[in-house]
């Protein structure tokens, strides 16, 4: 189950970040921040022609002893970072991919909302509920 989900804008500032164990939020925030470097590295490694062929799902960015960090980047360079608990061994890659897909879809729905200014913090309740469902039930 995801313990932390973050949506990072193109300019690398967070549009949405939420953690489950609320006490250690800062730690997760820091992890997400550091993972951005890995994301950028993976993106740049693709090269120029890649935007089409590049996979949106970046996979495991880096594992720590407790957690694993997965990344996903959209074609508009909006990044989704998900931190999962390493103790959740059952989490397969496909599940992570599906979670990112759901995130992407919800993010798209948020974008469709004309009242949402791109670059604002995401305050959509639908998005929140979707993230909550991901964070709770994935385990």
């Amino acid at each position: 189950m995801a313990v932390c989900v973050a949506v990072i804008a193109k300019e690398n500032y967070p549009l949405y970040i939420r953690s489950i164990p609320t006490e250690n939020e800062l730690k997760f925030h820091y992890m997400v921040h550091t993972s951005l470097d890995v994301v950028d590295e993976k993106i740049s490694a693709m090269g120029k022609a890649l935007v089409d062929q590049r996979e949106l799902y970046l996979g495991l960015l880096y594992p720590t002893e407790d957690y694993k960090v997965y990344g996903y980047v959209t074609n508009s360079k909006v990044k989704f970072v998900m931190v999962v608990d390493s103790s959740n061994t059952a989490l397969r890659d496909n599940e992570i991919r599906s979670m990112f897909r759901k995130l992407h879809n919800s993010y798209t729905d948020v974008m469709c909302n004309p009242f949402y200014n791109p670059g604002d913090h995401i305050q959509s309740r639908a998005f929140d509920s979707m993230v909550t469902s991901m964070m709770i039930q994935v385990c």
Partner: protein
């Protein structure tokens, strides 16, 4: 409880006025209707309210004026509430309620609760007292909070009596506003809105007299869910929609909707949430239903109602795509409102069921129904198209045999004619004899064709592929067709010619199909190319075939056929005649032959028709040629016999070939019925030698024409084949390109 109720009522009274004032302000800001709708909306969340409100509405048209007075008083009320600092639901109404609470002090719960409580209770009371719309309430001499308080206080003491008063009070205002769409304070509605989304409501309700609650529930259950849009509201929304988007079936783009709803002066966050709720299909645009739902939510919000977490069922855009509804599983927006069991049921249903439920609700609104029908029809049409395509293929598959049959027979007829010219016609059997080689080929082809037809139908077109090797020979094709026809006699047997699946079929089936079809009917191929999706069978061809059973109906070929069908029709009768002749002839020759002949004659005519059709597509000259052939036939026949005479000759040939083929093709026997008739007719007609000569000449002419036509068809088909191949390649390329994304 009474006190609470009274208190709440008292609050309502206050809040009502407050709301009324708010509504006035809103109205001034340009949303008068909303206010009203807000009122109604407020009633809606609480079922009870709705009920009461409805009743009230009917009764309090007049109280409008009184409301206006109240409005004035509301302004006075408004300032005090803020001062109260009580918990505010977030709208002015809250404020009004709060002051109330403090004034009444009856609130068992915190002030926050009280406002919320009051609305629910007020509905209760309203319900109870719906029958007692006290006139006094309607007046609402709102000079200021004070007066309200006093009457409310009295109401409180009076408990039920007070409730009665209250009920009378609250209902009228909301209803008035509702009915008149004026700025009348949404009193009751507003009040109801407040508590709606708060759990306190539930508690309050429970606190409220069980009886009242039950009563209310009962009443509410009988009413539609609170979020239902009333007719007046709906009409208003539709008008507003028109101002933005004249086409009621069109969309309002997100930017326009944003501007429009920004005018309501709701916070962007709330507007954003409203958008999320109402944009059902998440397309960034609002359809009429979505717009009405959004408008309704805005109105509700402005009246103090909290936005639901999920879209209420009644606001779901039921029309359009049912599949979208699936996403709305969360609809029962009344989460907050579903304090009463009655409310719960409607909201709980999953998207689809909710849609069903909403249907009845929609009944209330004719507009809704209309839109519904429009939308549903549109969606249905969309789906139908898809479904059409699907069945088309199977149909085509099934039909293939038929059309194929037709063409082969036609070609076969032509061949027969050719052969006839080559041989003495005196001997009806001679042409047949002459054809052994052809027959053998035909038989091969027929088998292959049948095969192909069979394949096309079920197996796919592998067999047709095998035939592709044969295409050079028209005769082969003919035999193919005949075999097909033999196989498909069942299909063609029924009077109305089965639609020609081929066009679409051939495409799908692949080149093989095309090949086969090319041979059999140019039309089909044309149809195929022209109509990627299965198109309903050509009416004309089907019509034309009336007389000619074999007339293949091509869904795709509709276009081509239509053009050709008229032409073919005239020909068809000839063909029909031919078949008859053939049948006769065949009967003389051989029973079996008859079968074949029947088939062939039928097929031939059909083929001819189809060929012309196909050729028509390419060039109408072909059809003309066919016509000529047909005409020539009759001309030949003009010897004195019916036009069938010449046809019989070709039929005879066909019969011959058919006879030969027959043994190989068992299926032909099926067609025998038709062919038999043709065969029967055949022998009898072309008996005269003199006629034969003329017939031979005519047949020669026809054959030549047919040759040219067929040659043209052949080239066309080849071209189509190439095109189809190219399409296939391009599709494969696209598939390859898309493959990497498949896993994403």
């Amino acid at each position: 409880m009474e006190l609470c109720g009274a208190t709440r009522l008292g609050y309502f009274g206050r809040s009502q006025f407050y709301i009324a004032l708010k509504l006035v302000a809103v109205a001034q800001s340009g949303f008068p209707l909303r206010v009203e709708s807000i009122n109604t909306v407020k009633d809606l969340p609480l079922p009870r309210f709705v009920a009461s409100k409805n009743e009230q509405e009917s009764r309090h048209a007049a109280s409008y004026s009184s409301d206006s007075e109240n409005q004035g008083s509301y302004s006075g009320v408004i300032p005090p509430p803020p001062g109260r600092g009580q918990v505010k639901k977030g709208s002015v109404s809250h404020d009004t309620v709060q002051p109330r609470t403090s004034a009444d002090q009856q609130e068992p719960a915190s002030p926050v609760v009280s406002p919320q409580q009051s609305p629910p209770t007020s509905p209760h009371t309203w319900r109870k007292h719906s029958r007692h719309p006290s006139g006094g309430n309607s007046e609402r001499p709102l000079t200021g909070p004070g007066p309200f308080w006093s009457p409310f206080g009295e109401a409180q003491s009076g408990s039920s009596a007070g409730d009665a008063v209250w009920s009378g009070h609250s209902p009228p205002p909301p209803q008035e506003t509702w009915v008149s769409f004026a700025d009348t304070p949404p009193t009751s509605t507003l009040l109801t809105m407040h508590p709606a989304s708060v759990q306190d409501q539930t508690t309050v309700r429970t606190v409220a007299s069980a009886t009242t609650a039950n009563e209310i529930r009962r009443q509410s259950s009988s009413y539609d869910d609170p979020w239902k849009i009333t007719d007046e509201q709906r009409q208003y929304y539709v008008n507003q929609f028109k101002t933005i988007q004249p086409d009621l079936n069109g969309f309002i783009p997100g930017s326009a909707a944003k501007e429009f709803f920004t005018k309501s002066k709701l916070p962007i966050l709330e507007l954003s949430h409203i958008w999320e709720l109402s944009d059902f299909d998440k397309d960034g645009a609002l359809t009429l239903d979505e717009f009405c739902a959004a408008f309704h939510l805005v109105v509700a919000r402005k009246n103090g109602y909290d936005l639901p977490e999920k879209l209420p069922e009644s606001l779901m855009p039921k029309l359009i795509d049912l599949e979208d509804s699936a996403d709305v599983g969360d609809q029962p927006g009344e989460v907050g409102y579903s304090g009463s069991p009655a409310e719960a049921p409607p909201s709980k249903s999953p998207s689809m069921p909710s849609l069903n439920q909403t249907w009845p609700e929609l009944n209330q609104s004719s507009e809704q129904w209309e839109t519904f029908s429009e939308r549903s029809s549109s969606s249905q049409t969309l789906t139908q198209f898809d479904s059409n395509i699907a069945p088309a293929d199977p149909d085509t598959a099934i039909v293939h045999p038929v059309p194929i049959r037709m063409t082969p027979s036609k070609i076969h007829m032509q061949e027969m004619e050719l052969k006839r010219t080559g041989s003495d016609h005196t001997n009806p059997t001679s042409p047949l004899l002459v054809k052994p080689s052809d027959l053998s080929e035909e038989s091969k082809i027929n088998s292959s064709v049948k095969f192909a037809s069979g394949n096309t139908v079920a197996d796919g077109y592998s067999s047709s592929d095998s035939f592709t090797s044969d295409p050079e020979q028209i005769g082969n094709n003919v035999t193919h067709q005949r075999s097909h026809s033999g196989t498909s006699p069942d299909n063609t047997a029924p009077p109305p010619p089965p639609p020609r699946p081929q066009p679409s079929h051939s495409r799908s089936s692949s080149l093989d199909m095309n090949r086969t079809f090319a041979v059999t009917t140019g039309q089909q191929q044309a149809g195929v190319v022209a109509h990627p999706p299965a198109v309903p069978p050509r009416p004309q061809p089907s019509q034309a075939p009336g007389p000619v059973v074999h007339r293949p109906v091509d869904a795709d070929g509709l276009i081509t056929h239509t053009s050709t069908s008229p032409q073919q029709i005239p020909e068809q009768p000839n063909f029909a005649d031919f078949s008859q002749f053939e049948v006769f002839a065949a009967s003389n020759v051989n029973e079996e032959q008859d079968d074949e002949a029947e088939k062939h004659p039928e097929v031939l005519p059909v083929e001819k028709a189809s060929d012309p059709a196909s050729s028509l597509r390419v060039a109408k000259t072909d059809s003309k040629i066919e016509e000529k052939t047909a005409a020539s036939v009759p001309a030949n026949v003009s010897k004195g016999t019916t036009p069938l005479a010449p046809p019989p000759k070709p039929v005879r040939r066909r019969l011959k070939s058919e006879d030969e083929l027959r043994p190989e093709v068992d299926e032909h026997t099926q067609k025998t019925g038709v062919l038999a008739a043709v065969l029967a007719s055949q022998p009898s007609i072309p008996r005269s030698v003199g006629k034969d000569k003329k017939a031979i000449q005519a047949s020669i002419r026809r054959n030549k024409e047919t040759n040219t036509v067929l040659a043209r068809l052949n080239s066309e088909l080849q071209q189509q084949l190439k095109d189809v191949l190219e399409e296939r390649i391009s599709l494969e390329v696209q598939l390859e390109q898309l493959r990497p994304f498949s896993h994403l």
